[in-house]
Symmetry: C2
Amino acid sequence: MNVPGSVQIIDVSPRDGLQNEKQTVPTEIKFELIEGLIDAGIKKLEATSFVSPKWVPQMGDNSELMQLINQARHPEVCYSVLTPNMRGFEGALKFAADEVVIFGSASETFSQKNINCSIDESIERFAPVAAAAKAAGIKVRGVISCAVGCPYEGEIAPSQVAYVTKRLVDIGAEHIGVADTIGVGTPIKVQNALKAAMQYIDVKDISGHFHDTYGQALANILTSLSLGVAQYDTSVAGLGGCPYAKGATGNVATEDVVYMLHGMGIDTGVDLDKLIHVGQRISDFLGRNNGSRAAKALLAKLQD
Amino acid sequence: MNVPGSVQIIDVSPRDGLQNEKQTVPTEIKFELIEGLIDAGIKKLEATSFVSPKWVPQMGDNSELMQLINQARHPEVCYSVLTPNMRGFEGALKFAADEVVIFGSASETFSQKNINCSIDESIERFAPVAAAAKAAGIKVRGVISCAVGCPYEGEIAPSQVAYVTKRLVDIGAEHIGVADTIGVGTPIKVQNALKAAMQYIDVKDISGHFHDTYGQALANILTSLSLGVAQYDTSVAGLGGCPYAKGATGNVATEDVVYMLHGMGIDTGVDLDKLIHVGQRISDFLGRNNGSRAAKALLAKLQD
């Protein structure tokens, strides 16, 4: 089986995960989560987002959290933050984020309903953010949401993914995330979306973001590995629900992904034994079922 | 992607699933489950087992259940039953099972601890069952448990799988099931186990049985598809727990597998819309969380 020898895990639980949890999480708990992830070997994470607290109250403590982070910053770790506009970018710059993330959608309807503008308009809004980030020496990651399916439009054509990839690369994105935001993708469709992105960016600069809503995330990661994709967004304990289907699964659990990769002899730099405790701790805090099946099985064995 | 055009789903929930649920399930409910599965398009299922009710009380109603089945038998459906010995085989014969299943282990320690004899001794016990089944025109399926890993021995060498395959084929098994009983397998290890079995039996006569304990089942099915394996054991709603890690996931959910296969354009003959209701009904009866993520997402969408 032709797969990469090592994979970078990008743990998105502090941002994408917690953002989709109802309960407000204190800044210290977020910081403890981030430190726990780093202690377990995570080298890249989504720390927070600089969006209006009106829209995303859970991320309203972005400045406080970044201050805590900066008091004990790990130079080997890449701290990403989400910045939808110039105002958000100023926050990222002020707190010296290593990478800013901008989000385009492959679905016109999702773009309209989610950020109230067309795909093209959203790219135009992101252009100054990307330019300012480049000027400041901050990495720019463009994520394409609904790259396989959309809650409103259903299946999304790979040509849409190719189009948004090109637009994001044109405005300065150095990295493209192909995101199955609602987890409807299956292996062949995911390969087609990735191949579309690969028309405009090298596979080494592509990451996969697969929700596990329909249980397909690991199969989709396996099929992406076979194309050479070596970076994946994951969320410890599967933190984060699915806003489009209540009670359904959201992000794929970091532990399940690491278990698969290590089982295949693929290096991640992550210490799974440490990681399962980080995921259980935040699950306990949230009073939430641990969403990682590997973690549940490993923790059950420890209790025997 | 080179995968089979169609796949046979073998739903094992009435036997392997319910056997690992604590609550005693009345015969009528089992029969309703079986009829529901068939109505949803399942063409092969594990109906029950003919083992001593002392060991497996949940299957103590095997005769009553088979009587109910025989009153409304679907000729296009293959009804399998588990028969560990000649006494069990007599039950299978009496009620005209279409297939008998015998279980060998690829792990010597598991064989000793689970059925109190060596691998070789277990095969010798099964030999008369296989011979009698052949003489009666009943199909014989040999399943190799712990084909990838063992709760006592850890990793299992593919050569063990090859050895047990050969022994089972030699005594008359026409079909081999490669079972990751504890769900520890990952794609490359699973491929190696399957390739070992393929030394002694054609891939068209191999099925995969992958527990989802560590979340790996769909990835393992995807990798098996790429080898041409076109038959899989699954359990509706993920019925059945994991006896080796309390609270952990057991069988892979039929709905999640069907969702992946249909998404890849692979025909199963199963109506997923019907199937999700069958799984939710038995989950409700058991007062149990539905173990299928695809079913949860699809049912949540129906409630919107």
